[in-house]
Symmetry: C2
Subunit: 265 residues, 2 copies
């Protein structure tokens, strides 16, 4: 399970403040915490709602902070392709992720030349387009298939394509959990990697962390390859470790026993 640490996001109050005040130590501490808790990639999102030029400046600064901690793989995260392009130019490692492309024609058109420049990048593909997230799971699959074809066409290998079937709240439609898992299962059949964020599933309900961890365990059961989460939450580490063991991915239960010994959850 590839863990993408989600904490460095300009929409979160304390991160926004740290970006505004250029509080390097705070950001570096946030990065270190996530790495210590098992993050393989650090998602960097510099969007604090002050426009494109400011976001470009801030993403560069976040990358600088990160490299003061170490040469850690970045998951560069912006809704603006210009910010992604600018940020990518400062990334030193060939191992990196682009978060994200989706089925919108304009987005595809603008992002394809950027992706072409970094053919070894991993690309997160959201199953949505101009009309939003389709409620019909077959339409989500169609968007995924279209994106896979386009990305394959410019030389991106299947192993670098991470489709996100997009989690929606069960408080809105109580079948949203199984709809997501159905799309996930279908995408796995395409021999493509998968990823997702979790927390949307529990939106509007009490005790969200507990719901998120069970949902993560179902995703792992269906073969989810990567997850965008806060790895400092011990429930998340618990769900990953135990679900991998119960699905036969932990030979002799060694990883579980090590985690229990280290009081990791």
């Amino acid at each position: 399970m590839i863990i993408i640490g989600e904490r460095i996001n300009g929409t979160r109050g304390n991160i926004k403040e740290a970006i505004e005040k250029k509080n390097k130590e705070f950001i570096k501490k946030e990065i270190k915490k996530q790495i210590e808790c098992g993050a393989h990639y650090i998602d960097l999102n510099a969007g604090i709602g002050k426009g494109k030029e400011r976001e470009k400046e801030d993403i560069k600064w976040l990358i600088e902070c990160l490299y003061e901690v170490g040469e850690i793989p970045v998951c560069i995260d912006s809704s603006d392709p210009d910010v992604i392009e600018f940020g990518l130019s400062f990334i030193k490692t060939s191992d990196k992720m682009i978060n994200s492309i989706n089925g919108e024609s304009k987005k595809i058109e603008r992002l394809l030349p950027i992706i072409k420049k970094y053919p070894e990048s991993k690309i997160i593909c959201l199953t949505m387009d101009e009309k939003g997230i389709p409620s019909d799971y077959k339409k989500r699959l169609q968007i995924a298939e279209k994106l896979i074809e386009i990305l394959n066409g410019i030389g991106v290998k299947n192993e670098n394509i991470f489709v996100d079937p997009l989690v929606e709240p069960i408080s809105v439609n109580y079948e949203n959990g199984i709809i997501f898992l159905k799309v996930l299962k279908e995408i796995k059949k395409l021999n493509i990697k998968t990823t997702c964020g979790l927390s949307n599933i529990s939106f509007g309900l009490p005790n969200r962390k507990i719901i998120n961890k069970y949902f993560l365990s179902f995703c792992i059961y269906e073969g989810l390859d990567s997850v965008i989460v806060d790895p400092t939450i011990s429930d998340i580490r618990e769900a990953i470790c135990i679900s991998e063991m119960l699905t036969g991915k932990d030979e002799f239960c060694m990883n579980y026993i090590k985690n229990v010994r280290n009081r990791n959850f």
Copy 2:
């Protein structure tokens, strides 16, 4: 999810003691606790290792204790068909379970006439025979199919047949979890009900309760109909409630919200 409360079992120290001392109040308290925590059936196992005649006397006494609490459905549990036959004669409700039959020829021969007398009973069928539990999942399925055919032949309806694919420890073979879930999935395709005990999965590992609850959630995801558990464990109630919600079985998440309000886990 049908919950069979497993606490009244003569192999457990405090239950054995209560049976020996004919401590009715203790047994009644144990029954009440399980009902309050959501048990639909109370498993009664009077086996304290003192022979058949003693077990018969004790199962009768346990049933008497139970009826002092209320007319609660019993899951009568013994490895000795004579004890099952004797116990059944004291059960007042038509809704009851027999725990259990398996693929052993002698057992089938002895239990069939008993089951014939109670055609409305639910029957738990273990996927094992004279040679023990087959490691090959297809052989477990074959035993299940044989038992279903035999039971159908004497008029037992599919809806009353509960196949238990038999959980084995992952500490012995780290693929035992997925082997079980594979058999479960195949049995569900036969349009038959399923049940199981959980705790074997975590045998030999630390923090067993936490493993059991994730495993239960996977079983629910695959459609397990019934489970033999200790419902007084809040982790078990949590796993059932949240897994049912996440698999689309809790309309408008009403049951979850009610459980959170009642601080049920």
